[in-house]
Amino acid sequence: MGTCGLWEGAGLSETILSETMRRRSPVATLFAVVVLTVVVLTASGLAGCSSAPSTPPGMFSVYLGEPQRPLVPGNTTETEGAKVIGAVWTPLVTFDKESRAVTYDGAAESVTSSDNVHWTIKLRPGWTFHDGTAVTAESYVRAWNYTALSTSAQGASYFFSNIQGYDDLQAGDDGGPAATEMTGLWAVDKDTIKVTLAAPFAIFPLTLGYHAFDPLPEVFYADPTAFGKKPIGNGPFRADTEWVPGRGIALSRFDDYAGMDKAKSRGVVLRVYTELSTGYTDVLAGNLDILKNLPPDAYASAKDIFGDRYLEQSSPDITSLGFPLYDPRYADVRVRRALSMAIDRKAITEAIFLGTRVPADSFAPPTVVGYRAGACGKWCEYHPDEAKQLLAEAGFDTAAPVEIWFNAGAGHDGWMIAVGNMFRKIGLTYKLRGNLQFNEFLSKRDAKEMNGPFRLAWLMDYPSIENFLAPQYATAALAPTGSNTTFYSSQAFDAALAAGDRAPTIEAASIAYERAEDILVDDLPAAPLFHGLDQAVWTKRVSNVEYDILGEIVLANVIVDGEAV
């Protein structure tokens, strides 16, 4: 267990002092003075000292990076915080691992609509928050209104933008929000929520699997900051202590949990690391139970070392090379096709990433509904000769270098250089523009300041191809308010998306979205490059480790010492 440093420190210095005073040598005295100063300094004003979460019996530990936002579902849009949220909350809907279709094994019993505009969400009765209060329709409605309201400054606000009345909750240039509650959202009774959307959206039930739609207990509104350190949810695990920055949090099994996925262990310790390599060494030594994502030097060897305690799955993301459509040099579709065909995706994934990436052949990863193998067709294959010919046809200026943009310090240099060298093979020169920090890169990308292809990445929110099309390529999503940073705008594409949104069923919607993808492939505003691969390893202490469709470890299913609780 952790020890609190202050008194121990004082004890140590006392020993040193008494020891040295007896000998009275000047060196020792000096040394004692130094130690004493440090200790006095420690003692003055250093009250806080929490113990690091170690792993109590029956519990297991998981690697985590430091979350950047408070632990509130509507405010956590990055992956690390989302892991904590995922353990403490249960979303409304869940997904079938094989078909990736919506299942109602979460907090909702059903989500129905006759016209894709008016939706009725029926909650499973009898759920409680970890503080004992009941989860009601009102817990959801109030949380959604709070998250949507711009003055609450919640990161996931945009998830509610398709609900009627959302715009009134946004502060304009001339003052605060006009309303604090969305007109299209109300609680009919204890277990029923009615939602009216601003426009038809066939896959609305799918989006409810995202944690932005989780409920909040009443206690949240009294002190959101305190809540963000010690969240109270409706999920299989509860937080007993506060989050400790740089260290992590211990979550214990919620015994009164009403859901189906009750925790099979006594609890989980989410331990913060800053270095993957350190986490990996800790798993090797048995100090850390589960690690997802491996340090590069373990890519090749982990499978042999861990054997059946190793699991990989294609991760629900995509990395593409976006083209600045606002730059006349890249306005010709032939140029974009040529550059896309110049890239040997297989070589990059194998040589640079040692097989830990999968070449992309579509605008979406294989993990979503609506994915079609080879949808991108020829443009995503390696045809250097044809690429060269197309460039000549388009009259591309081969003298000026192609400038390639990406953010620094995130390991993108290697594969971007490979891309550049592949461009060189078709008679071009390139210049790397990879010295920008992430925020600077993002700002420039939003401001149309890219004068060459740039890194474009997206991580799935819900398992529909729509999630990889609309937010990145629809006219409505143009940067800086949206994430469409190629500034692609096509009426045909928008219309195909809208047709999907209006479709009577999720299946029918998928077909329409596929049509939208075909249009995208024709116009090729970006060249899909590769998808990630999630690799997890674990110790002998734990078993039943599996991924959910979002590529996260299903913490509730993990069994410790072979004995499910």
Binding site: G2, V38, A52, A153, T281, L442
Partner: protein
């Protein structure tokens, strides 16, 4: 002496204000938009972005931002980071880790460095002297992260003598990272001590002491070492000041949640208030330990007096 100390302490106030202004300006001048970075690849609605900017005074011109920060400071408010956590709380949670790491590192540094330096100077050009020379050259030339991972793998994982990472085992957790952190300074201390001792040994007063028939150990400690300590103390004092600022690499390798990592993250996400709070504290440490060193001069060498 007391007047000297008080005067020096008073002098730190304008220095700290100046330093905080400078640091605040540097964070402000960093290119890019911190709120944009918060959203990452996902969208953040314009109204929400505006709200966050307003919450953290990011819309104000520099002078106003800094004035608001100083005003808060005078009321004991060090500001908040982007997750709404008070900066003072972050410091309170992370400083003990850094302090413990520093104590362990300085103890190693002084203990091993000075001992090795004395022994090397006593047996000049001997095998031991050469060993110290070679090993310190080696330590100085190996990057800390290599040394860190190497030590972690060998002593933590393979041999299992020390915990691999984290702070769960109390003081024991700090031994290996402390040793790694101290390695570089240890080399300097050893060489400084050796050189200063050799110089002292050739001084007249040592010869006089010998002629008087003073014992060997008394000559070494009382006459030799005491007169050689000034450069060593200067170095160690400055080192404590900088070690207390946090050791980013060592803290990362051994997963110690100290100040170094906090400041690294804060700079990357352009959280001005966090950076200024921590760095100003570092500046204070640095000044403070320089003062301690100055006072120690007078203790070691009675000829030095502060009036």
């Amino acid at each position: 002496m007391t007047r000297f100390v008080i005067r020096r302490l008073l002098l730190t106030i304008p220095i700290l204000i100046g330093a905080s202004l400078l640091i605040y300006a540097m964070v402000y001048a960093l290119p890019g938009d911190p709120v944009r970075a918060l959203a990452g690849d996902r969208p953040l609605s314009a109204a929400v972005q505006a709200q966050i900017r307003a919450d953290y005074n990011l819309d104000d011109p520099f002078a106003v931002q800094y004035a608001k920060y100083l005003w808060g400071l005078m009321h004991g408010d060090f500001g908040r980071d982007f997750s709404g956590r008070p900066v003072l709380e972050t410091i309170g949670q992370r400083l003990p880790v850094t302090v413990k790491l520093t104590i362990v590192a300085v103890v190693f540094e002084a203990l091993f460095g000075i001992t090795a330096g004395i022994l090397a100077s006593l047996r000049r050009n001997s095998f031991f002297d050469n060993l110290v020379l070679v090993s310190t050259t080696l330590l100085v030339s190996i990057p800390v992260f290599v040394l860190g991972f190497l030590a972690q793998y060998t002593f933590g994982f393979k041999l299992g003598w020390f915990p691999i990472a984290g702070v769960a085992d109390g003081w024991v957790s700090y031994l290996l990272p402390g040793l790694v952190l101290a390695s570089l300074s240890m080399a300097y201390v050893a060489r400084l001590t050796r050189a200063a001792m050799l110089e002292a040994f050739s001084a007249d007063y040592i010869r006089t002491a010998r002629a008087k028939g003073v014992g060997r150990s008394r000559i070494i400690i009382r006459h030799g070492l005491r007169n050689s300590l000034i450069p060593v103390i200067t170095f160690i004092g400055a080192d404590i000041g900088s070690l207390l600022g946090g050791a980013i690499v060592t803290e990362s390798v051994f997963n110690l949640p100290g100040l170094g990592r906090a400041i690294f993250d804060a700079v990357r996400s352009q959280q001005g208030t966090v950076v200024v709070g921590i760095v100003t504290l570092m500046v204070f440490f640095y000044i403070f330990f320089n003062l301690v060193v100055d006072v120690l001069y007078a203790v070691i060498d009675p000829r030095i007096r502060y009036e």
